[in-house]
């Protein structure tokens, strides 16, 4: 079996969720990586451990309509078509599936066999094991559930892929990508998150000290995002990003089901909340009851010791 993985990238490097999808694909068969974008990204893809071949289609922007048409044109050579469950994978892969008359299998967290997969449903409150009867499987992969393939160690050949005709129904207008010194949420070793108790957008900066000290990404609960304290791309939860860092620190987050769905696979969870009944404590390895505005500076001071 040969598996095609669609690479998600920022125009220069391939992100960690893609390497998790490559790791998942490696459990199914030989892995070919499709890079739609600049040559430098294809070269980065060729180095990833476990990639047997890179297919490279040089385009400036990665729009769903031509990308899906391209993947459809390549699909004949593959039993499984995978992508990370990132905004890109979620946008493109269902479109590919419909073009191939396949029911996609979204956000898999486990592989049972070539036809059978585990995926969370109901915001992660249940796990469904499903067996697909489709001839080809179109899949997005929950990055947090698979250890990523190593970024170095491979030396795959790069072959050009002929872009399919652009259906011409969409065009790229612009993007506002937030530049951050911090690691990306889904790839960070430590995530420091704030909830509604933070109280304002201005107050959100209170987390910066701990985040800087630990080299952490900053996250937020949906309540904090809805209240306008933090931008939506920081949202951790079923409706935001799914993270599974080594250490997740939740400050002033009560632990709504939908938030827990986004972080409960973290290795170590710390919860700091003034309400000792908050549900977050039921999943926390270490809980500290108290006022976050008093405790955050104290923790920062301890970290500096």
């Amino acid at each position: 079996m040969t598996v095609l993985v669609l690479a998600d990238h920022d125009g220069a490097s391939i992100n960690q969720p893609t390497r998790s999808a490559i790791a998942a694909a490696g459990k199914l068969g030989d892995v070919h990586l499709l890079v739609i974008g600049p040559e430098a990204v294809a070269q980065a893809g060729a180095k990833i451990a476990g990639v047997a071949k890179v297919l490279h289609a040089a385009t400036e922007h990665l729009l769903a309509e031509p990308a899906a048409a391209l993947i459809q044109s390549l699909a004949g050579n593959y039993t499984h078509l995978l992508a990370p469950g990132s905004a890109l994978g979620k946008n493109v892969m269902p479109r590919v599936a419909a073009l191939l008359d396949v029911q996609p299998i979204s956000d898999i967290s486990g592989i049972v066999d070539a036809d059978t997969f585990v995926r969370p449903i109901y915001a992660g409150n249940a796990l469904a094991t499903v067996q697909s009867s489709d001839a080809k499987k179109v899949i997005t992969v929950r990055a947090a559930s698979f250890d990523p393939a190593a970024p170095e160690g491979g030396s795959a050949p790069i072959e050009p892929a002929q872009p399919a005709a652009d259906p011409g129904v969409s065009s790229f207008v612009g993007a506002e990508i937030v530049k951050s010194e911090r690691p990306e949420l889904t790839a960070a070793r430590v995530v420091v998150s704030g909830g509604r108790a933070i109280g304002s957008a201005e107050n959100f900066k209170i987390l910066d000290g701990i985040a800087d000290k630990l080299g952490a990404a900053v996250g937020a609960s949906r309540a904090a995002v809805d209240a306008g304290y933090a931008p939506n791309d920081l949202q951790v939860g079923q409706t935001g990003k799914i993270v599974a860092p080594e250490l997740y620190m939740a400050f002033g987050i009560s632990g709504a089901i939908q938030h827990l769905a986004g972080m409960k696979d973290s290795k170590v969870i710390v919860a700091i909340n003034k309400d000792e009944e908050a549900p977050i404590f039921q999943v926390a390895d270490y809980g500290l009851v108290g006022d976050i505005f008093k405790l955050i500076p104290e923790i920062e001071a301890e970290l500096n010791k």
């Binding site: 996609p104 995926r119 249940a126 499903v130 067996q131 969409s170 990508i177 270490y286």
Partner: protein, 249 residues
């Protein structure tokens, strides 16, 4: 311009779902059901487009059991003009939903179909993209802003790390993200008025679509539970535990 808005009947987002003891699914009997929250945002966006004079008619469609009429009524009370229920008691996967919607689109001729980005029951996040593919239309998924003018839609999308704007030739598909708008509550007079708005009921077979599932559910189970840990007394103890016990910092 006509708009089509599909709405799904799902377990209310406030309900803590329970896995059935026999592992065949989750308990949905005697559980509060509501319109999928992302679909409410879709209805709201359609109503706003009508209030701005861009849209002239909003058709709400649901695919589900006869009780899904309730969700269509909610959409009608929010401001949709009429409803279509594709009645079926079976599980209908996104591929079949997309095919049913395609048949309805071909009959109704909307310029834009606005869908929720995902349903909070199966969390597939697929139907809008699949409908776009089947129709050969452009797709603006995970929208946080939609502007329609001059035969095109400019859709600002929530992507990893920020926002991206795409321009779609109409007709087109839009799927909604959380920040697109805040759905209104239907007023009592509008709820009363909605009772008089028409709902047409049809069957999947009337649209010539085979809804046989492609995915067989082998089992549904509870996720592994995390053990609750320990409470620490101070910031110093916390940092010490993280350093020496958990060894993560």
């Amino acid at each position: 311009m006509k708009l089509l808005v599909p709405v799904k009947r799902v377990v209310d987002y406030n309900v803590k779902v329970r896995v059935k003891p026999d592992g065949t699914g989750v308990e949905t009997a005697n559980v509060k059901m509501s319109m999928n929250p992302f679909d409410e945002i879709a209805v709201e966006e359609a109503v706003r487009l009508k209030e701005k004079g861009i849209a002239t008619e909003i058709v709400a469609v649901s695919i589900g059991p006869s009780q899904a009429q309730e969700q269509i009524r909610t959409a009608l009370a929010m401001g949709a003009d009429r409803g279509i229920l594709v009645e079926t008691a079976d599980t209908v996967e996104p591929i079949a939903v997309a095919k049913l919607l395609k048949a309805i689109v071909e009959k109704e001729g909307p310029q834009v179909v606005i869908l929720g980005k995902q349903a909070i029951d199966d969390d597939m996040n697929a139907t809008g993209q699949m409908l776009a593919a089947l129709l050969g239309w452009g797709q603006g998924t995970f929208a946080s802003k939609v502007e329609i003018a001059d035969g095109a839609a400019n859709v600002t999308r929530e992507v990893d790390g920020g926002l991206e704007t795409v321009r779609l030739k109409l007709p087109a598909i839009v799927t909604t993200d959380l920040r697109l708008n805040e759905p209104r509550y239907a007023s009592l007079p509008n709820i009363m008025k909605a009772r008089k708005k028409p709902i047409e009921t049809i069957k999947p077979a009337d649209l010539g679509v085979d809804t046989t599932p492609r995915l067989k559910v082998i089992k549904v189970e509870e996720p592994p539970k995390r053990q609750a840990g320990v409470k620490v007394a101070s910031a110093a103890e916390l940092v010490s535990k993280l350093r020496n016990e958990a060894k993560v910092i």
